[in-house]
């Protein structure tokens, strides 16, 4: 089959879904309801084209004046002014005012053709955006004539060999109000902005792409100050680079349990456990070890403030303050309810782009359940992990579970995305509470199957072999008492501990 030549949009994720961009030299319809992001997608396509692909572009705005358009985009970090100053971008406002025009006989839209043609020829444009051409229907009443002229315009655009985006507002029972999809048949992209349980989610779908295979799924996308960012769902976790390098967990005893070397770089680690089982401590040692290696670390805290985390970790002998001062560690503390899941993902994405961390902690992911359904949280985490894997970030997620369910599954059911899963448990035996840790899974490495007693003290974290006696597991003071009586049976780890 002959391949359709394509123009890359430069929009993250979109080129992946479309197999390289929009059909070159042809018009694409981008449709959706108000506020769905059509104009932003179109503008980013032009700006990227002019800046990164040597393809100047013309933007005809039928709805917003150039001043408004420019200000809006400058605030999004997509300032078109430098490019238009260098004649790489041509912005023109086409005003259609419903009450200003009296129709007195036959006419055509040659004026629009001439203006667009002049713009294209002046800067040698290879890309064109018409946003939103259906506005013409509000200014001129002869619908039949307008339709014929639109058809002529699109044919003419093809002869000009420009790659064009024509935007259209969603209509009743059809993709666009005036059926633009009848004339634009090469490629149709639909955007959607819906609010579910107070959370706004944006989605993009390639409805049609003539002569090219394309992902048919809805892909979530969001808009932040880096522009549009589409997450191709289908690509999840399948084509990442993998690293054989190992990184320390920061706890020597735990590294020993993980084949003696710790986690894989770029892997995802889940630490689940009940309240007070030591999840944040495990996370704290992990970032401390990263900073000691000189790796920058980013800590997303959804439960505690930065001073709180720092103070609490002091109590187990960890001092993160030097790393914070050096700028190696960045803690971003935010209540989960301050924004929707998309908002959190967007902030995380931005910070990861800015700070380029090698290690990320999200503490805890279970709190996100308060702002989304578990399916949504799962989808969001899948995307987050996808982003991290691509960047080869080693990520540690903590999850609060009730002690009963710790082994079974986490609330958000995301364990299948995780490479290593540590389970922390509080157990009550003989009137005292002790902590334990075991490795439920750790892909691609030999690891210990034993449950260890997990000791948090001012001197740090230790993992002790549990002591079995008469078919019972002895922990805490029972273990100590047993070892007093039978020093011969003392396991090595415990001996080290007492020294």
């Amino acid at each position: 089959m002959q391949r359709v030549p394509k123009s890359p949009t430069g929009i993250q994720g979109l080129d992946e879904i479309t197999g390289g961009g929009l059909p070159r030299g042809r018009p694409t319809l981008v449709c959706g309801g108000p506020g769905c992001g059509k104009t932003i997608l179109a503008m980013e396509f032009l700006i990227n084209g002019a800046r990164d692909f040597g393809e100047p572009g013309v933007f005809l705005s039928f709805e917003e004046s150039i001043e408004d358009l420019t200000l809006n985009f400058a605030s999004l970090g997509l300032d078109p002014r430098p490019l238009s100053a260098r004649k790489k971008l041509w912005l023109e406002y086409v005003r259609v005012e419903p009450n200003e025009i009296q129709e007195t006989g036959t006419y055509d839209l040659e004026g629009l053709f001439i203006r667009l043609g002049h713009a294209i020829d002046t800067i040698g444009a290879k890309r064109v955006v018409l946003d939103t051409i259906e506005t013409l229907f509000s200014g001129l009443s002869d619908t039949r004539l307008l339709r014929a002229e639109l058809r002529r315009l699109l044919t003419w655009l093809r002869t000009k060999r420009v790659t064009a985006i024509v935007t259209g507002e969603r209509g009743d029972g059809q993709l666009t109000r005036h059926g633009l999809e009848e004339y634009i048949t090469d490629c149709v992209i639909m955007l959607d902005h819906r609010v579910e349980e107070q959370n706004a989610t944006r989605r993009l779908r390639v409805v049609k792409y003539r002569g090219s295979p394309h992902g048919a799924n809805e892909s979530p996308f969001f808009i932040d100050d880096a522009g549009i960012w589409v997450i191709p769902i289908a690509s999840l976790g399948l084509q990442h680079r993998v690293s054989p390098t190992r990184v320390s967990s920061g706890i020597p005893d735990l590294d020993a349990m993980l084949g003696g070397k710790g986690y894989f770089r770029g892997s995802s680690i889940l630490v689940s456990g009940g309240a007070g089982s030591g999840k944040t401590s495990v996370a704290g040692y992990f970032v401390d070890a990263a900073c000691r290696r000189g790796d920058s670390a980013l800590y997303f805290a959804f439960e505690e403030s930065t001073p709180q985390i720092s103070r609490n970790l002091h109590s187990i002998g960890l001092d993160l303050d030097p790393w914070l001062r050096k700028g190696l560690l960045h803690i971003h503390a935010e209540r989960p309810t301050t924004s929707g899941l998309e908002g959190h993902l967007s902030v995380m994405h931005r910070l990861m782009t800015e700070l380029q961390p090698r290690v990320v902690v999200v503490d805890p992911i279970s709190n996100l359940i308060t702002v989304g359904t578990s399916a949504e949280v799962r989808a969001m985490l899948a995307r987050l992990i996808d982003i991290m894997k691509v960047r080869l970030i080693t990520a540690l997620f903590t999850s609060l579970t009730s002690d009963d369910t710790a082994a079974g599954g986490t609330d958000v059911g995301i364990s299948s995305f995780m490479d290593t899963w540590l389970v922390l448990r509080n157990t009550q035996v003989n009137g005292e509470r002790t902590r334990s840790l075991d490795i439920l899974k750790s892909r691609g490495m030999p690891h210990s199957n034993q449950v260890r007693e997990f000791i948090l003290s001012g001197r740090g974290v230790r993992l002790l072999d549990v002591v079995r006696y008469e078919g019972r597991v002895l922990v805490g003071s029972a273990r100590a008492a047993h070892l007093e009586q039978a020093p011969a049976a003392e396991p090595r780890a415990a001996r080290r501990e007492r020294r």
Partner: protein, 118 residues
């Protein structure tokens, strides 16, 4: 008949200063795309209307956008032909070849907009 797409088809009129001052002076611009049948029809219809209703107090400037494409932006021209009444204010725009005289007269405020029929 004009030889060229006449950019400045002037009509006999009073002196410049006097013309500017007159509140009922009509400054008209007819935008066309080349001298095709429709452009010529529009120009003929416009002249007829002006001769009948605006004798001695109008000026017509014909602008061919094919020759001067830059000029389409200023007056926000989309459809052709378009007649723009620059004076008297407010600006009015009439789209089409002006064959519908009634609508043209209403559009130019030469007939009141009372009869609101289709």
């Amino acid at each position: 008949m004009k030889r060229k797409p006449a950019r400045t088809g002037r009509t006999p009129s009073p002196s410049r200063g006097k013309r500017r001052a007159a509140a009922d002076f009509y400054d008209l611009r007819l935008y066309v795309a080349g001298l095709n049948a429709r452009s010529l029809a529009a120009l003929t219809n416009l002249r007829r209307i002006c001769d009948e209703h605006l004798e001695g107090r109008y000026r017509i400037k014909v602008i061919d956008l094919i020759e001067r494409p830059k000029l389409g932006r200023g007056d926000q021209i989309l459809a052709l032909p378009t007649l723009v009444r620059k004076l008297p204010e407010p600006i009015r725009k009439l789209v089409g070849d002006l064959s519908d005289t009634d609508r043209a007269l209403v559009g130019l405020d030469l007939r009141p907009r009372t009869s609101r029929r289709s």
